[in-house]
């Protein structure tokens, strides 16, 4: 028990004294955490795939029906082809882009919204807080997926923009609640008090004094919303409420299911795109959990004495 209290490495104290440039500590923290490393590497692979898909496959239009139907895996088609004669691997590679765009756009916008609502609720307090946190709880409790399904049914099968908008509107509340709690605990700290005494404006205090201390939580929120977006978008596309003609993992699953791929002996058509959704989701989840550990040292894995002392 006592070993864990003393486990601060000499490395740490040097770092705080010299006050290294911002981000350097984060990078080192990611490298020192195995979960974060796995998540970061996975995410990097998907980013590369989405930027330059043509480097990894010779197929330029993955939705064209240009190959034999239901071919088994071979050197020409490592994962086989679909019942429409499309190369499964090529579809996977080209489909990365849409999932990633949805994840990053929804993650970013929902985080901005939750910071706005959460922090202003905590900082302004009083009736404003009452309204804003009531609204947050309300959005949190209403089951979002049925709501999205109903909206999608009325709005017509969605363009990408509609889907992103709906996911942002339904996905910000969890983060806003956490950020509000964190901001509340900061509200009466001395450094904010001193900024107020200095006569700084509210906007200055919030942006320059409060937000920097909440960076890790904001980052965690971004990752959480991105995970939510990836999973929900895949679900919507799977039941056919996305753009069925787009190249996306969810649309692949939709066509696989509507052609009974499992029963027809084409398990790869189902397994491959689902695994990609899961891996992208896992990369966000692993990074998220790792940041939790980094920002809350109490949660870090306990190092057994002598086991890895020399490593750091």
């Amino acid at each position: 028990m006592s070993a864990s209290i003393l486990s601060g490495t000499p490395d740490d104290s040097v770092g705080t004294r010299q006050a290294p440039r911002r981000g350097a500590g984060l990078l080192r923290a990611v490298r020192g955490n195995r979960k974060a490393m796995v998540g970061a590497v996975l995410l990097l692979i998907f980013i590369v795939l989405s930027i330059a898909p043509q480097l990894f496959t010779s197929v330029s239009d993955p939705n064209a029906h240009e190959f034999g139907l239901v071919l088994p895996p071979s050197s020409a088609h490592p994962l086989g082809t679909t019942a429409f004669g499309q190369d499964i691997l090529a579809q996977l590679i080209w489909g990365t882009r849409q999932s990633l765009v949805i994840a990053l756009a929804v993650g970013g916008l929902a985080t901005v919204l939750s910071v706005l609502v959460g922090v202003s609720a905590a900082y302004l307090g009083g009736p404003v807080d009452g309204v804003l946190s009531g609204l947050t709880d309300l959005f949190l409790v209403i089951p979002t997926f049925p709501l999205i399904v109903v909206i999608a049914a009325y709005a017509g099968k969605g363009s990408l923009l509609v889907m992103i908008a709906v996911l942002v509107v339904t996905g910000w509340s969890y983060g806003a609640r956490q950020l509000r709690a964190q901001a509340l605990s900061l509200r009466n700290r001395e450094f904010l008090e001193s900024a107020r005494v200095r006569g700084e404006r509210r906007s200055y205090i919030i942006v320059n004094e409060m937000l920097p201390t909440m960076v890790s939580l904001i980052l965690a929120n971004f990752l959480g919303s991105a995970l939510y977006a990836v999973l929900t978008a895949a679900g919507l596309q799977f039941i056919g409420l996305g753009d069925n003609n787009a190249v996306s993992w969810g649309a692949m699953l939709h066509w696989a299911q509507s052609n009974s791929a499992l029963q027809a002996g084409q398990p790869l058509w189902v397994i491959a795109p689902g695994l990609c959704v899961a891996l992208l989701g896992a990369s966000f989840a692993l990074l998220n959990y790792a940041f939790d550990e980094i920002s809350n040292p109490a949660l870090r894995p306990v190092r057994r004495p002598r086991a890895r002392r020399t490593g750091s």
């Binding site: 679900g235 689902g274 949660l299």
Partner: protein, 327 residues
């Protein structure tokens, strides 16, 4: 008592908000979907039903918006959701009454089981910090909590149904050749059909409860009263359950209430994959058939189910945590 009243007020407020969203959606959407729907159904359903729909969606009526809203709230509160188009001329409420027990049975039981099991595993994992369980649990369950529900369902179907030549059924809630009754054979059949969908919900939702419970345990174990318990020489078992787990459970319970919406969202897709005749499956069918009255009523029912569960959680919290009763 004030806490419970506040939660009750929140319940009513949320319910009202959901009902208002339900009312506003078809009227706000661009392109007037309600009129388009009427055009589609003219000639296919009888005039009486058309008229009921027109009233429900505010098409061709001379009532003001507020009057429409008033009668809508009244109708909904009394369980009058109108007439289903898919199952014409059955009222929507009859349809829902048939689907509700399946959803409550499957999703309710699976979710509660996942919560209880997850909380227990999280307790053990947090107690034995850095032990064998704790080195395996976090990474594994971080990954399972990122799996898409419906895909896990499909993989389970592949493994236990397709590849094993129908070891477990993957379609519906019971064999359609059997007539529902309370015989052991029928109940066994229902249980058999529920295994795969329940396992899907369990696998994907358990991770979240394990991780939050573990992290709560780790935080609570550092508290002074735990050290005090140790100093008094209490047994480990007593400290673990009575001192640490009991307190670590409270935030997890709030988290449970707050995440129910997410779990139910995933469970809808599970019902869809397994053709399980619950509310979610029915909702997606209603969307495909453009059965707007059924769709709206289902959205409302699912919301009500989640809200009731959240309220139950609040009652349990009030029971377990004296601090909430004082506030």
């Amino acid at each position: 008592m004030r806490y419970l009243l506040r939660r009750l007020a929140f319940f009513v407020l949320t319910l009202w908000a959901a009902m208002t969203v339900n009312f506003a959606l078809p009227r706000l959407m661009p392109g007037d979907p309600a009129s388009a729907m009427m055009a589609r159904f003219h000639g296919r359903v009888n005039p009486e039903a058309i008229h009921a729909l027109e009233v429900a969606f505010g098409v061709d009526t001379h009532q003001s918006l507020w009057a429409q809203y008033g009668s809508y709230l009244g109708n909904t509160a009394t369980g009058n959701f109108g007439i289903s188009l898919t199952y014409f001329p059955l009222p929507v409420s009859t349809e829902i009454a048939q689907a509700l027990p399946w959803t409550l049975g499957l999703i309710g039981v699976a979710t509660v089981m996942a919560f209880l099991a997850g909380t227990f595993i999280g307790t053990v994992s947090g107690w034995r910090r850095g032990g064998v369980v704790d080195s395996v649990v976090p990474p594994v369950f971080v990954v399972t909590s990122a799996l898409p529900y419906f895909w896990v369902g499909m993989v389970l179907i592949l493994l236990f149904s397709v590849m094993t030549n129908g070891l477990l059924p993957n379609d519906g809630a019971y064999d359609i050749t059997m007539t529902p009754s309370l015989t052991p054979a029928f109940i066994g059949n229902v249980v058999q059909h529920a295994i795969l969908p329940a396992a899907t919900i369990l696998i994907t939702s358990i991770g979240g409860w394990i991780l939050t419970m573990r992290n709560n345990m780790v935080t609570v174990l550092a508290e002074d009263y735990v050290r005090m318990g140790r100093a008094k020489g209490l047994s480990n078992r007593r400290i673990m359950y009575q001192y640490a787990a009991r307190n670590a459970l409270l935030p997890n319970l709030t988290g449970f209430a707050m995440s129910l919406g997410f779990v139910v969202s995933g469970a809808i897709l599970v019902e869809y994959v397994f053709n399980y005749p619950g509310l979610g499956y029915m909702l997606l069918n209603a969307v495909n058939n453009l059965d707007y009255p059924l769709m709206q009523a289902l959205f409302l029912m699912i919301t009500v189910a989640v809200l009731v569960a959240v309220l139950l959680c609040d009652f349990v919290t009030a029971l377990l945590d004296p601090r909430t009763r004082g506030a």
